[in-house]
């Protein structure tokens, strides 16, 4: 699948040796009162192949960082309308030459919503990884 020309970029670049948290805002895609279905089987974050090839990782089942989760209790977002995750570059890839100039790595957020019938929303986001 092609990467949309208007794919949103996360603010704040990731240095390949950093571990940072990011938030995927789904709220602008939703109608009033509509949320992401909180069932963990009904939403996901997927790295696209280029991101995998360069060692980007969404941390999950890691003893030191939380799994991706819907955002609850953050005054910047309506509950269950955004997804928070932690990311890093696999240490084996941190010296990759691509990161010297910087590279935007793609990922995709997919979710079913709370509407009846539910909508399926999907957006591609770019995460900048650059040595800083």
């Amino acid at each position: 699948m092609a990467i949309p020309a208007n794919a949103a970029r996360f603010t704040g670049a990731l240095d390949p040796e950093e571990v940072l948290d990011y938030i995927v805002p789904i709220g602008p895609l939703l109608e009033a009162g509509e949320t992401i279905d909180p069932d963990p089987d009904r939403w996901s974050l997927t790295l696209l192949a280029e991101a995998v090839a360069l060692g980007l990782e969404i941390l999950e089942s890691d003893p030191d960082w939380p799994d991706p989760a819907l955002v609850v209790g953050d005054t910047r977002f309506v509950n269950n309308t955004a997804i928070k995750f932690w990311a890093r570059v696999d240490p084996a890839f941190q010296d990759n030459a691509a990161f010297a100039a910087g590279v935007a790595l793609p990922m995709e957020a997919t979710c079913w919503t709370s509407s009846n019938p539910p909508r399926r929303r999907q957006r591609t986001f770019l995460l900048n990884v650059v040595e800083q």
Partner: protein, 77 residues
């Protein structure tokens, strides 16, 4: 669907390319990103991912990573 799909890194062979690649399976589609040029694939109609045979469906230059190409593949029958 799982919450995070980090894909996997695999050893792939397509045409004259042999080496590591990023592989993502989602919604029944498998994509493979590798550092190569389309000409390195030659006229290959298929290849292998970790030794498993796949049919080559499409080759496109990466839209975000220079020097990388993205293959769309499907399991060989």
């Amino acid at each position: 669907m799982a919450r995070a799909n980090n894909g996997r890194r695999a050893d792939v062979r397509f045409g004259n390319f042999s080496g590591p690649a990023g592989v993502v399976e989602r919604g029944g589609e498998t994509t493979v990103a590798l550092v190569a040029t389309p000409s390195m694939l030659g006229a290959a109609k298929g290849g292998t991912i970790d030794g498993v045979s796949y049919r080559l469906v499409k080759v496109t230059p990466s839209e975000v990573v220079g020097g990388m190409i993205v293959l769309t593949v499907e399991p060989s029958a």
